[in-house]
């Protein structure tokens, strides 16, 4: 999980505020990240996250199976968010340097 728009990061982020089934997950991700995941990408990521114990399936409600983030999933998401925050801080700092340099050169 490296980038903010990686399907696993998006799914963990969506599940961080409560269990959701596939359709609710896709709609939530589209709303907060503007990313539309195809069914193959969505369920590929769901199955990999479940196998790694980062999310777990709850008993099916009709045919729809809600998923929920596990403690391990929350820890993995926290790690990914911290990594992205560090990257954002470095990027922000370097952009500020670039802006200062440009001002000096101008």
């Amino acid at each position: 999980m490296r980038r903010a728009n990686d399907p696993p990061v998006l799914i963990l982020t969506s599940l961080a505020d409560g269990p959701k089934h596939g359709h609710a997950l896709a709609k939530d991700i589209e709303r907060f990240a503007g990313v539309s995941l195809g069914p193959g990408a969505l369920y590929g990521a769901i199955s990999r996250l479940a196998e790694r114990g980062l999310i777990e399936a709850l008993p099916a409600d009709d045919r729809r199976r809600p998923y929920r983030i596990t403690d391990a999933g929350a820890a993995a998401l926290a790690e990914a968010v911290a990594e992205m925050r560090r990257l954002a801080e470095v990027g922000t700092e370097r952009l500020a340097c670039t802006a200062r340099l440009r001002r000096r050169l101008a």
């Binding site: 199955s47 729809r64 199976r65």
Partner: protein, 309 residues
Amino acid sequence: MRGRSWLLRCYPRGWRERYGEDLAAYLDDAYPGRLPVPAALSLAGGGLAQRFRESAGLGTDAAAGARLRDGVLVVLAAWAAFVVAGASFAKLSEHFDSSLSERTRAVPDLAYTALQAVASLSGLAVVAGIAFAIPALLRLLTRGGWNQVRRHVLRAAAATVPTVAMTAGLVGWAHQLTGAQRNGGSAGYSAAFLVWAVLVAVSVGLWTVAAVVTARRLSLSRPVLLVEGALAITVTVGMLVMVAAAVTWWASLASTSPSFLAGGVAGPTSQWNPQLVATVVLMLSALTVASLGTVRVVRAARPLVASGV
């Protein structure tokens, strides 16, 4: 709709068994009309990627986890049959050392002690396997899973009640009988013992079915699955050692004290006690089934181990 089911077939069977229904429901929700081409391509690509991952043993996958769990449950079912055979063996071998001299006692004693020790260790492995699954069991029960397993658990509990009651009655009766009466001298006691043995076997069988039905609904993490697999392998190895010890015990008794095997009456076929033959055949059958389950566990564990715990 037909095109959707065809696209779902791009995914491996094990994956479809776990996610197929949910994915089909998602497609109905997200694309109530005709499935757009990008979504169809996403499905086809996802299915083929999943097949590639499984065939290459890459990453972790649901099918491997499901296969590993099935293998563990096959070993558990074989262990239940082995327990029944073990109880029969324990009854057959009661007081065997009193029929042996100091000189001839060493080998059967050693085999019997080894069998008892390995039976205890294997039993502990089964208990440990159950203990590792308890958190997942509690999660299942707290999320409404009881309704899915209730019928099987209640059926097993219903069979256990008369078994426990009859055990208490039989123990009380046995204390009033002589050793000879307990070992075939009393027709009534023998008949009651047979009924009790059938009840025990039925109870063990029903609890095993309940355990299998419940375990198939548990959501087990990869590390827990791998631990369960390792315990299943341990139990199978234990069963192998116990069969070897039982056969060694049988062979040494057959050569040194065949009359014991025939219930005190020596004859040309004393060593082929029918109950002992049936017991060892049941042990061997259970071992064979457990070995098949273990092969499944080992094959399924490879991709899980390769992707790291």
